[in-house]
């Protein structure tokens, strides 16, 4: 590679990295700013974190987010793993279509169609409707991760187990399952983050019944920008970092970009 060329390349890449990171760093820095405005730097303070932890609504929203994310990641992992297995094992038409389309279309379409659906069923919008919606859009992501893991698996291992007298269920439980476990864990973590982060589908399916963290943040930043949001943002970024570290420990393949 010519050095002149690579200099330009490096400059462009560094610019892109700075573009990605500077805004987030600003949020973190301002969360410690002793001023009500996100403008001038006045001095260092922890008070926005204190305000945050005394904000009842925010705590309820955080609890709701967590409940929904746990239910979603459990159900979506089970259904998504089955879908991934089915798509790997059998030639199917309808299932891949139903699994992949929710990922490919704009989220708002799924949000509004589920809104009509739940209202038609006379369902009270709230935690349950949000969780049902989240499971629907997370299944596809889990299925893709699990399927790609299955594609990388050596089929001969399962055949060997069968030759040695294992029943299909034993072969699955003792061979396939441990081999695809990193994929399943990666899928579960993915479903958890997708659920806890989702704004659009939650926005349409939550009604007045349940606020989640993203909904709470949305209503706060729509009205006025307050440093409290910087504090919750910083904490959420820390949580994300923590999840990534955990993921890299239990399922390194979760972080591989493929």
């Amino acid at each position: 590679m010519h050095s002149k060329q690579s200099k330009w390349l490096w400059a462009a890449a560094l610019f892109a990295y700075a573009f990605l990171y500077v805004p987030l760093i600003i949020v973190v820095v301002y969360s410690f700013n002793d001023s009500k405005l996100n403008a001038e730097w006045v001095g260092f303070t922890f008070k926005w974190y204190e305000v945050l932890f005394n904000n009842e609504q925010m705590l309820v929203a955080a609890r709701n987010s967590l409940i929904i994310a746990i239910i979603t990641s459990f159900c979506a992992t089970v259904l998504g793993t089955l879908a991934g297995l089915a798509m790997h094992k059998y030639k199917l038409r309808l299932l891949p279509l139903l699994v992949l389309t929710p990922i490919a279309i704009p989220e708002i379409l799924m949000g509004v169609s589920l809104l009509i659906f739940f209202v038609m069923l006379n369902m009270t919008l709230g935690l349950v409707s949000v969780a049902l919606a989240h499971i629907a859009f997370c299944i596809g992501f889990v299925a893709i991760v699990v399927r790609s893991r299955l594609q990388g698996m050596d089929e001969a291992l399962v055949e060997a187990a069968r030759d040695l007298g294992a029943t299909p269920i034993q072969a699955f439980r003792l061979v396939t399952m441990p081999l695809i476990m990193p994929g399943i864990i990666a899928g579960a973590l993915m479903a958890f983050t997708l659920s806890i982060d989702d704004f659009v589908i939650t926005f349409f399916t939550a009604g007045a019944g349940a606020s989640t963290l993203p909904l709470q943040i949305y209503s706060m930043i729509r009205i006025a920008v307050t440093p409290e949001v910087n504090a919750i943002s910083t904490l959420l970024m820390l949580l994300t970092l923590f999840l990534i570290v955990v993921a890299s420990k239990i399922a390194p393949s979760a972080l591989r970009a493929d």
């Binding site: 805004p23 089915a86 309808l94 139903l98 929710p102 704004f199 659009v200 949305y218 970024m237 591989r256």
Partner: protein, 309 residues
């Protein structure tokens, strides 16, 4: 044996299939059908089923004689009679297209550099691209609200520079510029990842061969790397363009009245004016636009691959 394997097939594919039929396929069909109905008196949809007060049973109100009172094509007519809706679609396409282009220009050198870096750094470099993407989408929008806000250092600096050359102060927030830059920001990793996945697989020997044959740096890029990377480019373009097209939160938060997109109109029809039939028409139009684009991308993508070979 054959029977039990059929059973297995259903046991495995049945649960996700049934779930997605109930919570994805049926709601989508109901929405498509809603586009042909009338809005109810208090928003939502005019009921098709009502309880008969005498018998207490649920009865279908619509029948062959009176279907015109319950079903209509007018909602679609409304879309085409007022040019404002078509214009809003065009504007949203423009926003999403520009966003895709800027993402491509920013992502390409980055993806190329990562793909050509020593293997031990690649995972870290790509992780650094994904990391900001894992933080909540609203937080990323909010970060730009701070930067673009009139009291922020960035806005002040830009306006001071503009004042020096005699141009009046500009407002960065609530503008087309704000919508585009935030759309680029939230979608950039979607472009980097498929590009990187593609560029990483290129055979460097091809570039050496081109150089041996006397190709300049630019020629090597344009005649070898670029055509080979087209599948990655198309994948990235689809991953950026489609979500950007349906976005409503970004225009809502940083776009002001000028910056609204289709998504904002859909949201407004469903939640504010509660005209669900028209909201459904808009959603169907958006779906059709996406399907058309996906089909087109698949065609061009295939053509691109053929050309590259």
């Amino acid at each position: 044996m054959a029977k039990s394997s059929r059973l297995n097939k259903w046991l495995i594919s049945g649960p996700p299939l049934i779930y997605l039929i109930i919570f994805f396929a049926i709601p989508s069909l109901i929405m498509a059908f809603a586009a042909f109905r009338f809005p109810g008196d208090y928003g939502g949809l005019l009921p098709l089923i009502a309880t008969n007060p005498e018998t207490g049973a649920n009865e279908l109100l619509v029948n062959a004689q009176n279907w015109r009172d319950y079903l209509t094509f007018e909602n679609f007519g409304l879309f085409f009679t007022d040019s404002i809706y078509v214009e809003l679609f065009a504007k949203s396409f423009w926003y999403a297209g520009l966003t895709t282009l800027i993402c491509l220009v920013m992502a390409y050198p980055l993806a190329w550099l990562i793909a050509r870096s020593p293997k031990k750094y690649r995972d870290l470099m790509i992780l650094l691209v994904i990391l900001p993407f894992w933080s909540n989408f609203l937080i990323r929008v909010y970060a730009w609200m701070i930067i673009l806000g009139p009291q922020g250092y960035f806005s002040m600096a830009i306006n001071q520079v503009l004042a020096l050359i005699g141009v009046g102060p500009v407002q960065l927030m609530f503008s087309h510029f704000a919508v585009i830059i935030v759309l680029v920001y939230v979608h950039l990793p979607f472009m980097v990842l498929p590009l990187y996945a593609n560029l990483e697989k290129h055979d460097m020997a091809l570039l050496d061969a081109a150089q041996d044959l006397g190709a300049s740096g630019w020629q090597r890029f344009w005649k070898v790397t670029w055509p080979l990377s087209l599948p990655g480019v198309w994948a990235g373009a689809a991953l950026v363009f489609i979500p950007a097209l349906g976005m409503f939160a970004v225009p809502d938060l940083v776009g002001g009245t000028d910056g609204i997109m289709i998504g904002n109109l859909i949201k407004q029809q469903f939640l504010d004016s509660r005209d669900w039939p028209f909201g459904s028409v808009l959603s169907i139009m958006l779906t059709l636009a996406v399907l058309l684009l996906a089909g087109l991308a698949a065609l061009i993508g295939r053509g691109g691959k053929r050309n590259a070979l």
